[in-house]
Each structure stands twice: as C-alpha cells, then as structure tokens.
C-alpha cells in the first residue's frame, strides 16, 4: 500500500479599507480537494475574518478543485451571506476552477470575477 503525500493548500489573509468597510481577502494557493476542505473552511471562519464587513475569496492561484472543494466553497459562501457580509470570489479565467464551476452549473450563482480590483469594485457596487 502506498503512503499518501501531504495535502497542499496555503492561504494568506489581508485586510484593507474599502471606503469605510473593512474588506478581508483570503487568498488560496494550491489544490482544493477532500483532504483540505476543513483547512479551507477554517481559513474563512468567523474567527479569522474578525470585524470585516466584506470578504474576497481569491481562488486565482488554486490549480485544482473537485466536488468536495465546490461543496465547501458553496457552504462558506452561504454562511458569509447569512452573516450579513458582502463578498466576491476571484477565479482566473480559463482555469480549472472556472471550468469545474461551469461543469457543475454554479458559474451564474457564484458569479466569480477575474481579479482583486474587480472584486473590490463589485463589493462597492453592492452598497
């Protein structure tokens, strides 16, 4: 039997002022599959987001996502909405993540944007 290698998903959190609203950007780098879905959820947990009024989930450096990752993303997205936070998801165009969102029929619901600047503008436009 083969030993399994470590799962790979890194993230960093940055906060910025978006015209009076604290925007937390959680940027992920790596693969979002079953072994790391709890890491993903923890990274966007209430405790980690602090008093941010808006959240950007940046998946532009995520190279692989499967249905476990999609389920975690949708779950987190709904929780953010339920908590009253605005949000945006960044997905690179023509990426694996965009393709899987398309295959699962979630592109319209999650409405990802291609970069951070567009995400900030999108959040500002929701006010």
């Amino acid at each position: 039997m083969t030993d399994s290698g470590p799962a790979r998903l890194n993230h960093r959190i940055a906060h910025e002022d978006g015209d009076g609203t604290v925007i937390a950007t959680v940027a992920f780098d790596g693969d979002l599959d079953l072994p790391v879905v709890e890491e993903f959820r923890a990274a966007v947990s209430r405790e980690r987001l602090g008093d941010a009024g808006a959240v950007i989930i940046d998946l532009s450096a995520v190279h692989f996502i499967d249905s476990s990752g999609i389920h975690a993303l949708v779950s987190v997205w709904k929780e953010l909405g339920d908590s009253g936070r605005r949000g945006a998801i960044v997905v690179a165009g023509d990426s694996n993540v965009e393709r899987v969102l398309g295959l699962t029929g979630l592109l319209e619901e999650l409405a990802p944007v291609p970069d951070h600047a567009t995400a900030v503008a999108s959040i500002a436009g929701e006010r």
Partner: protein
C-alpha cells in the same frame, strides 16, 4: 490511436481509504493519462471524485479499508477502475454533499458504470477517449 506496443505499463496502486489518498490517486492517474494521450484534467477530476466516493461512503461506521486504482489502455480508450472493499453502495443521509460527484463523472467520461462485485465492495469503471483533442468540452 496509440499502438499498444508503445502503451505505458498498466497502473495499479492500492491506497488506504482516507482523504489524503484522493490527492495521491489523482496525481498518479494524471501522469498515466498524460503518457497515454488522454485528457489528464478530465481523468484526474473523475478519479478524484471516484476515490472520494469510496473514502466518504464505503466505510461508514467501519475501519477504513482499501481503495484500488487501476488504469489501462484498450486501444482506443483509457479505462480506469476505482474499487474498494467497503460495504457497497448505500445512501448517506449525513453526507452533506451536493451530489455532484457522479454527475461530474458523467460529464467527464465517455461512459462509466458502477457495480458491486461478488468479492464485495464497490467498483466504478470509467472510460476516456485517448486523443486528448477529443476530450469532453464544457
């Protein structure tokens, strides 16, 4: 169509039915698919879904068993089988998933079938076209 004399050696690996095996299985099959001339992205994602199904559903309430991944060429297709020695196909009301796994596999494969072999467990057999240019489009 690939000459079978040039085909990569069939792949067979056995993994513990635990989450990290999803990552290992898809990495191994992606390399094999690339060598075989199949669409590695399609094969990798489908295998991730298949192995995750075994990990999440085949051993509920039991000690985790084994997932076996086999990949081979038939001349015009890459055939991948993911089998486990679990308790067979059962609905999981606590699964909490979106039910996307098998739907994705259906979108990514030329054909697939699920069976419960006499030896027990579940076997998922998937077929992919060999010419990557004929991969499944969005």
């Amino acid at each position: 169509m690939m000459d079978l004399a040039d085909a990569p050696t069939p792949l067979e690996i056995r993994l513990a039915a635990v989450p990290p095996s999803v990552t290992e299985a898809r990495a191994a099959v992606a390399r094999y698919a690339t060598d075989a001339g199949a669409d590695a992205a399609d094969v990798e994602l489908a295998v991730a879904e298949a192995v995750a199904n075994s990990v999440l559903h085949a051993f509920r309430g039991e000690e985790a068993g084994t997932v076996t991944l086999r990949a081979t060429l038939t001349g015009d297709a890459l055939v991948v089988e993911v089998s486990d020695d679990g308790s067979g196909i059962r609905p999981n009301p606590e699964g909490g998933g979106l039910g996307l796994g098998l739907a994705l596999i259906g979108r990514l494969t030329e054909s697939f079938s699920v069976s419960e072999p006499d030896r027990g467990g579940t076997s998922l057999r998937m077929s992919f076209p060999l010419d990557a240019s004929e991969g499944i489009d969005d």
